[in-house]
């Protein structure tokens, strides 16, 4: 049986889903303006940092990786929403994915763009970022291909390229429809992006094949990208980083936070663009169950990681473990445990409590919790190095806070602009396909 929105007449589906593109409400403008102001504040803070140097941040010996690396890992994790949700559900032909996939794919692209900014911000002298690229230069040297920094670069370039194509491909048929009826500048834009799509069976066949292939490829890339991010840490022989489970642990955390971001984005889109008929309790319920599953999986990895360290009782590792669980960083650690496990477990595990609102609350909780998780992984290890006399603390400054806040604003702004330019739900996929059952 098809899901409820698919029973609507097609012209109504098209009207409902194209309508948000042509109207701009005051609420939309207000939220975009706020996001723009916060984003600009972040740019000003970055400009201040570029002018004064990295001394304006809280980074100091021995903690040279702080909030910027936390943000990098966090945003790359969020980007897993699109690939994992969209690609897996597409490959398994799950019919309920239809209103969800494009929202997820857009999150991937924007989160990656934002995440990829952080290594550049973290470099300090951002204008020299191109030294990472292997280009013939006057110094006759090449980048060190053994460096995880270069692994990150190649992984992110591949992932960004793949994600943009993966978002773009299923947009083409909708762009062709939009090209027919819109304002002149939009018509030109859509016509150019639609590449002359006519809806012939050759085009549909090629599109379906390409989408299936891309789904397979992007899945492998997504897993590899967050594994590479995990290896940035795990390849260092540092206490509580040098762990064989860091790859899957990070991938699990990434999927977990990605699903939370998707639920939050869907809840906002549903309200702001008035898409209650299309993004139903049914979709939130399924995503909530996935979120709960990932919460349990995340808990399992967290316990496995911490329990083995505690049982091993290695003094260097225990220094970090103690800092995380009992000392300076304990509030972050226990808040993380509460937000990532207790909140979703209660709100999503008890069926009576599992509503759209509770799923949204649980998602916000998970997003905060996962940011804290990245902080708890990155900072205590660096603050407690093997040379115990070099131990220190790290507190971010307003510069780092402003830049972090700006990235959230940038994400909101990019997403809202996207939702005004392109249908956030794939219209052509909504048509009932005779061969497809829910």
């Amino acid at each position: 049986m098809a899901t409820a929105p698919e029973l609507l007449p097609y012209h109504q589906i098209r009207e409902d889903l194209f309508r948000p593109l042509s109207r701009v409400s005051r609420r939309y403008l207000f939220v975009t303006l706020i996001a723009f102001i916060v984003g600009t504040a972040g740019l000003v803070a970055w400009g201040f940092q570029l002018r004064r140097g990295m001394g304006v941040t809280g980074l100091q010996r021995p903690v040279f990786w702080g909030v910027y690396i936390v943000d990098f890992v966090f945003w790359i994790g969020i980007s897993h929403a699109g690939t994992l949700i969209s690609a897996i559900l597409r490959l398994t032909d799950a019919a309920w994915r239809k209103p969800v996939t494009r929202a997820a794919e857009a999150i991937t692209v924007f989160a990656l763009m934002i995440g990829a900014m952080f290594p550049i911000i973290h470099l300090g002298r951002a204008w020299l970022f191109y030294w990472l690229l292997p280009y013939p230069n006057s110094r006759l040297i090449w980048p060190n291909f053994r460096s995880p920094l270069l692994w990150d670069l190649t992984a992110i370039v591949t992932y960004v390229t793949g994600s943009i194509i993966y978002l773009y491909l299923p947009l083409i048929p909708d762009l062709a429809q939009l090209a027919a009826h819109n304002t002149p500048w939009r018509r030109r834009l859509y016509r150019a992006l639609a590449l002359g799509w006519t809806g012939s069976d050759r085009e549909w066949h090629a599109l379906e094949r390409a989408m299936k292939l891309m789904a397979c490829i992007i899945l492998a890339v997504a897993v590899s990208v967050h594994t590479v991010v995990a290896w940035d840490f795990a390849m260092a022989v540092a206490p509580m980083w040098h762990s064989t489970i860091f790859g899957p642990y990070f991938v699990t955390g990434a999927i977990f936070s990605g699903i939370a971001a998707l639920v939050l984005a869907m809840a906002i889109i549903r309200k702001v663009l008035r898409l209650e008929v299309y993004l139903t309790k049914h979709h939130f319920d399924r995503l909530a169950k996935l979120l709960l599953l990932m919460s349990l999986l995340w808990l399992y990895f967290t316990l496995a990681e911490n329990l083995t360290v505690w049982y091993g009782n290695d003094p260097k590792e225990m220094a970090v473990f103690g800092a995380r669980t009992r000392a300076h960083y304990a509030p972050y650690f226990w808040t993380m445990m509460f937000l990532n496990f207790a909140v979703p477990f209660v709100l999503l595990g008890i069926r009576r409590l599992r509503t759209i609102t509770s799923a949204t609350v649980a998602s916000v909780s998970v997003l905060i919790g996962m940011w804290l998780e990245r902080f708890v992984i990155v900072v205590p290890t660096l603050a407690n190095p093997r040379l115990s006399s070099a131990s220190s603390f790290y507190t971010p400054t307003w510069i780092e806070a402003a830049i972090t806040a700006a990235t959230f604003a940038a994400m909101a702004m990019l997403y809202m602009i996207f939702a005004k330019l392109f249908p956030i739900i794939a219209v052509w996929e909504f048509k009932p396909h005779p061969q497809e059952d829910d």
């Binding site: 090449w142 291909f145 194509i165 066949h205 599109l207 490829i217």
Partner: protein, 168 residues
């Protein structure tokens, strides 16, 4: 010349294609236009694809080029590695993997553009029918003296209307 038949049912389109092919019209001269993907039974209007092969080829090409480039760059400016190999596949395997996947992605996208005809229009003068929601159009390229037989085949199969357009 071109004929454009409008249909409401997928089965009617399939029947029309079978009749047209039986009358000697090649699959390359048939195009179905719709606002959604339409699947026909195997053998009706198959569109063989080499997209998977293209993706694998792209992956192998990019992967090989990346590995060769790293090998060359590492030897072009040898770092002091303390007796360890200058080029190590394990230490650079991540880059090889990512470049391999990038090759697969680029080849897949490129092949999609090529195979779909979006960058390689076979006939720019061919008419593109306006498809109403819920209906399908079958475009047939045929010689003028075959037109009557083709129109008859489409009408018999269930076309609700057939139009003649352009010259072949």
């Amino acid at each position: 010349m071109y004929l454009i038949g409008e249909f409401k049912e997928k089965d009617a389109v399939a029947a029309a294609i079978r009749r047209l092919r039986a009358s000697g019209i090649a699959p390359a001269d048939l195009d179905v236009f719709s606002e959604e993907p339409v699947e026909f039974p195997r053998g009706v209007l198959d569109r063989p694809s080499r997209m998977s092969l293209a993706s694998v080829s792209g992956a192998m090409l990019f992967g090989s080029l990346a590995t060769a480039f790293i090998w060359w760059a590492q030897h072009n400016y040898s770092l002091v590695t303390g007796g360890m190999p200058v080029f190590s596949f394990w230490a650079t395997g991540v880059i090889t993997f990512e470049m391999t996947m990038l090759g697969a992605i680029m080849a897949c996208f490129g092949w999609f553009l090529w195979e779909s005809g979006l960058v390689r229009k076979r006939d720019r003068t061919a008419p593109v029918p306006e498809v109403d929601p819920g209906s399908m159009c079958l475009r047939v390229r045929c010689r003028g003296n075959d037109a009557a037989q083709a129109i008859d085949a489409m009408r018999t199969a269930g076309a609700i209307g057939v139009q003649r357009r352009g010259e072949a």
